[in-house]
C-alpha cells in the first residue's frame, strides 16, 4: 500500500494503471501442477499423429493430462435463435510440445449473408486448482484434508498459448448471433495453428432459427450476482474508486450486464458480511461523528459507484444496500474527537441502534431522492433472527415508510409483505397465493444457492451443465430469478487456485481477473437464455393455442422442479440438452 499511496500523492501516473505482477497476473500465467494419476507417456506416444483436434462437448471439463474421451469429429452443428449466444468446445491434444498455439475462426457464411468472425470469440480453457464438496459450508483451514485437483474452467483472453507434450488443451468457442441475422445455416472454419504445428481445421455450422432472443436488458429473468469492487482494486493493484479502478471494473461489470444482471451491490457499512471474502467490503458511505454530537454523511463513493453501474454499464434496476443487520453487530464511523474509526456495538431494538441507523437513513433517503434513485434503492439484509429483522424493518420504516427492503434468507410469512425483493434458498417455496400477490404488487421473488447445495451448483468442480440447470430451475419452480452471493470475490490467486479458506472451491467467483469468463459463467448465461426462450415460447404457444406443444414444453421444464429431483434423475447435461433441443425445435 505504501508505494501505491505515495504514487497517488506524487500524482504519478504509474500507480493509476493496473499492473501485471507475478502475484497478480493479468496476461499470461502458469497453471499449477496437476498431481493426479494420468495417462502415461507410453499411452500418449501411441497417438497416430503428433497432435489431434476434434469437437468436444460443452458438458465436459476435459482433464489436462489424459487423452480426451472424444469421438473424433471435425464438424459441429449448432442451433441458435437470432441474438442468442451459443457455445461449443473443441479439444486439442498432443504428444509433442506445441509453441505459440493460436486459434482463428472464419466468418460463418450463408450465401451472401454471414455471421462475422468478430461475433465469435475463442478461448483457451485454462486449468485451475479446485477441491471437492465435502461438507459444503464451513472453514477449510487445512487444504490437505480435501481433495485437490486441476480442472478446466477459466476461458482465457490470451490469444496464444504453449501447449506441453502429452496434454490436452480445450478451446471454447462462443458465437453471439447478431439479432438481425437472417434465418438459415451458416458455415465456417475453426483453425488451430502453432509454430511447430501445421494448421488443423474444424468445420462449424450454426443454424439460425427464425426466432429472436431479446437483448439482455430486456430479459425477464431477475439476475442478482453480487459484485465485489474491493477485490478488483486489490487484484489490479489500483487505488480504490480511481479512474484506473473503474477502468478495471468496466469489462467485468459489462459481462454482468450482458448476462442480464439487475442489481448493484452497495455496502453501506464496514464488513457487512464480517469480512468473509478475501477482500472485505467497506462502507461506501462516510459517516463522521462531529465533536458536537451531530453526524455528517458523505456519499461521494456511493454516488460514483452507482452512477458508474447505471450510466456506464447499464445495470440500473436496484441498488441493494448491505446491511443494517450484519453478523457482527458493530457499526463504524469516523470519530472527529479521536480522529479514528470507532464502532457502535448495538443490536436492533437498542436505542443506540435506532439512533445510529435512523439518523443515517433519514439523511440517506433525502440524498437518494435528490439523485432520483430513491425508488431504485433497497436496504438489504441477509438471514437474521426474526426479532432482529423486525426491529430493523421498524427503524427503516420510521426513517422513511417508502424505503424498499430486500432479504436473501429463509421464507418468513411474517415479514414477506415488507420485502420488496425476497430471495429464498433452493428448495424453499413461496405459497402460490403469496407469489401471485407479490407479483401483482411488483415485488420480486427469487431463489439462491450457495455452499449448502451439492447440486445444482457453480463450484469449479461442478458439472458444467449445472450452471444452466440452476437458471432453468428458477423458471420451473416459478421464481423470477436467481441470486448468488459472489461473482468476483476472488481468492488470493484466483487464476491458479479457486480454493478458499471456506466453502467448496469456486463458490466465491465465476468471473476471473482479466476479465476472463468461465465455463460456469457461460453456461449460466446459456440457462438464463433458455429461461427467456421458455417465456417467449409459452407466450407464443398460448396465443397460438398450441396446447400440445405447450404441454410438451412445460413437461420438459417441469423436470427441473425441486420436487422432481429428489430421486434418481438424468444428469444435468442430459436434462439441459433435451430441453434445449425442444426449445430449438418447437
Amino acid at each position: 500500500m505504501k508505494a501505491l499511496l505515495v504514487s497517488i500523492l506524487l500524482g504519478l501516473g504509474a500507480g493509476c494503471f493496473a499492473q501485471q505482477t507475478e502475484k497478480y497476473p493479468l496476461g499470461n500465467y502458469q497453471e499449477l501442477t496437476d498431481t493426479k494419476p494420468h495417462d502415461s507417456k507410453e499411452t500418449w506416444m501411441k497417438m497416430n499423429a503428433p497432435a489431434a483436434l476434434s469437437w468436444g462437448t460443452t458438458d465436459m471439463r476435459y482433464t489436462k493430462l489424459n487423452i480426451p474421451d472424444v469421438k473424433k469429429s471435425t464438424r459441429i452443428q449448432l442451433k441458435a435463435w437470432k441474438g442468442e449466444r451459443v457455445n461449443a468446445q473443441a479439444v486439442l491434444w498432443t504428444r509433442n510440445d506445441l509453441n505459440h498455439v493460436s486459434v482463428a475462426v472464419s466468418d460463418l457464411k450463408n450465401g451472401k449473408s454471414a455471421i462475422p468472425s468478430s461475433a465469435i470469440s475463442t478461448h483457451f480453457v485454462r486449468y485451475v486448482m479446485t477441491d471437492e464438496f465435502g461438507q459444503g459450508c464451513g472453514h477449510r483451514p487445512n487444504k490437505a484434508e480435501w481433495d485437490s485437483l486441476i480442472v478446466a474452467d477459466a476461458l482465457d483472453i490470451n490469444k496464444t498459448l504453449d501447449v506441453k507434450a502429452c496434454s490436452t488443451q480445450p478451446v471454447w468457442i462462443k458465437i453471439w448471433v447478431p439479432s438481425d441475422a437472417k434465418a438459415g445455416k451458416y458455415k465456417g472454419t475453426l483453425t488451430v495453428s502453432g509454430e511447430n504445428l501445421s494448421p488443423m481445421k474444424l468445420q462449424m455450422e450454426v443454424e439460425v432459427l427464425n426466432r429472436t432472443l431479446p437483448e439482455p436488458k430486456d430479459w425477464a429473468f431477475y439476475l442478482d450476482l453480487w459484485q465485489n469492487p474491493y477485490a478488483v482494486a486489490r487484484y489490479y493493484q489500483v487505488p480504490l474508486w480511481s479512474q484506473a479502478h473503474f477502468d478495471a471494473m468496466r469489462p467485468i461489470m459489462k459481462m454482468l450486464a450482458d448476462a442480464g444482471q439487475r442489481t448493484i451491490t452497495a455496502s453501506i457499512m464496514h464488513k457487512p458480511w464480517n469480512g468473509q471474502t478475501e477482500d472485505h467490503f467497506d462502507s461506501m458511505i462516510t459517516r463522521i461523528r462531529k465533536i458536537d454530537g451531530t453526524w455528517e454523511y458523505d456519499y461521494a463513493v456511493f454516488d460514483k459507484w452507482v452512477s458508474f453501474m447505471m450510466d456506464e454499464i447499464g445495470i440500473d434496476d436496484m441498488i441493494c444496500c448491505y446491511t443494517m443487520i450484519p453478523w457482527a453487530l458493530r457499526f463504524d464511523y469516523y470519530d472527529q474527537a479521536t480522529n479514528r474509526i470507532q464502532f457502535v456495538e448495538a443490536k436492533p431494538g437498542d436505542k443506540a441502534y435506532t439512533e445510529y441507523w435512523g439518523t443515517f437513513l433519514k439523511d440517506f433517503a433525502d440524498h437518494l431522492r435528490k439523485k432520483g434513485w430513491f425508488e431504485k434503492t433497497a436496504i438489504s439484509m441477509d438471514e437474521r433472527p426474526m426479532e432482529a429483522m423486525r426491529e430493523a424493518i421498524k427503524v427503516i420504516k420510521q426513517a422513511d415508510p417508502e424505503f424498499k427492503i430486500t432479504l436473501a434468507g429463509n421464507y418468513h410469512a411474517e415479514i414477506q409483505e415488507d420485502l420488496h425483493y425476497l430471495c429464498i434458498p433452493f428448495g424453499q417455496k413461496f405459497p402460490d397465493d403469496v407469489l401471485a400477490a407479490r407479483k401483482s404488487k411488483g415485488q420480486i421473488s427469487t431463489y439462491y444457492t450457495c455452499c449448502v447445495e451439492p447440486f445444482p451448483n457453480l463450484f469449479t468442480f461442478s458439472d458444467p451443465a449445472e450452471a444452466a440447470w440452476t437458471a432453468i430451475h428458477a423458471v420451473a419452480d416459478n421464481y423470477e430469478g436467481y441470486l448468488r452471493w459472489a461473482v468476483n470475490s476472488w481468492t488470493a490467486d484466483p487464476l491458479r487456485d479457486s480454493r478458499f479458506r471456506t466453502w467448496p472451491a469456486g463458490d466465491t467467483y465465476s468471473i476471473y481477473p482479466g476479465p476472463r469468463s468461465s465455463i460456469r459463467f457461460e453456461r449460466l448465461v446459456e440457462g438464463i437464455q433458455d429461461c427467456e426462450k421458455i417465456r417467449i415460447l409459452r407466450k407464443e404457444l398460448e396465443s397460438e393455442k398450441a396446447a400440445g406443444k405447450l404441454k410438451r414444453l412445460n413437461e420438459e421444464v417441469g423436470k427441473f422442479k425441486f420436487d422432481n429431483i429428489s430421486g434418481s434423475k438424468p444428469s444435468a447435461s442430459t436434462m439441459v440438452n433435451r430441453l434445449e433441443e425442444i426449445l430449438n425445435s418447437l
Copy 2:
C-alpha cells in the same frame, strides 16, 4: 469503550461525567505495599506517645514505615514575598491505627491583618511506587530488574485519611500569600485530629516581606510543560473533547497556568511521538482525502482545545503544533475511498511529504489567520537529522514564510535563526552573541531535561530540591525558561505506580489525577518563583547601584551553572536553601 459510546449515542448523561472506578480512582485509594526493610514493631512501640507530630522539611521524602528522622519542633518560621507561594511539611507518625485523620489550619494573624485560612491548603503526602535511575533512558520491560520502592510524592486532595499503625504520614502545607498582604509576621495554628486522636497542634509563622512577586501570567520565566489531553480522557473515563473532558482538564490546566505555563501542546498528526506514552496523542486536526484527490481539513478539535486553553485557562503565549517530523515517518489521513485511516509514508524531501504537508500548511495558515492565532502558532519539532529538519523548514516556509517554527533538540547553528523558539538539552549552551541576537529578535531560548539526566531531575525518586534547582539553573545559565516533555502523561495506574515501560519512574508526569499536585511540581514552582525574585532583585539592585548585594546574589545564582556542578558540590537542597535565604534577605 462500548458502554461509553452507547451511552453517548443514547444521549444519556451518565457517560458525560467523570467516574471513579477501581481501576481509575479519583477519590480515596489504597497505596501499594512498601516491601523495603523498615523499623520493626518493637522500635515503633518505643514511641513515648501513641502518635507524634512535628514540623519537617520540604527537602525530604519521609519514608512510610520508619520513624521519621526529625528534630521534633512545633513551630515553623517561613518567609515570603507578597503574592508568593511557600510550602512547609509536617510529619505525623503513630504506633496505633488512626482513623479519619484530618488537618485544619487557622487564619494566620498579624494584628488586625490576616492571611485567611482559605489561602492555605493542606495535603496528605501520598506514597507511590518508583524505581531508580539505572541507565536513565530506554525500555524497562522487566520491572524486577530495577529497584522498586514506595516514595512520598503526590499531594492528596482527600481531606481525611486513615493512618495505619507503625507508619509515617507527612502533611504538606501550601500558603499562597495574598498580593495585598501587609508586610509583617503572621501567626496561626495547624491542627491534626482524628476519631481516636486528640487534636495535635503546630505553630506556623509566615513573615511577609515588603516585596511583591507578580502574578504567574506576568512572570518572565518561559515554562513549557507538555500537556496530554488524551491521558485525561482515559483516566477520567470521559469522551474525548466532551464537556466532561474539559471539566476534568480545567483544574489540571489551571495548575499549569498558576505555574507560569506559556505553551499549548497541540498534536497535528497521529502519534507525533510514536505513541511513546501510555496514552498516545492523536491528530487534533481531521484530514480527509476525497476520492477526487483533494484534501479537506477540519479544525473543530484543535479550535476547541486551543480556545479552552486560551480563554478559560489563560495560557495563550504559543500553540506548539507537533509535528512534521515524527520518529516514524507515517502520516495519517481519513481516506474517503477506503473509508479507513490510511498512512502516507514519506520523508522530508520526498515529493509526497511536500505534497501532504505543504497542502495542509497553506490551509492551516489561512485558518489560523482567520482565528487571529497565526502569530501565536508554531510548527514544532523534536530533534531529528539535520537534513530532515532543513527539508521540513523548507516546506513550512514555502507554505507560509511567516510560520513560526520551534525545536526541542540539540543546538544547531545552521538552523537556529529559523527557530522562533529553540529549547536545547541541559548542559548545551547558546553562544553569547547568538543568545543576544535571539533575544533582540524576540526569539525564545530555553533548556530541557528528560531521561538523560541523573541530576537535576523530576523523577519520583529525585531529591525534592532538584525541581527547584532545575528552574534556577535556567536563570543561572542564561536560558529563558525550561521545558519538560510531559506533565500529565499518566501511567496505567498513576496514583499508585509511577513506573512506566520506559525511563525512570515519574518522568512522564508531575501532576497526578484529581488533580493532585506533587512535591516535585510544588518545588518546581518554588524554583520558578525564585527565578522571578532573582530577576526582580537584579533589576532593583542594579537601579540602586547596590553592587555588593548584586555581587552576592549573582555569586549565589552562579553556583547553579552547569560548569559549576561537575565536581563535588553541595546538595541541591543546601544550594536552594542558601539562595532562598539570600532572596529573602537582600
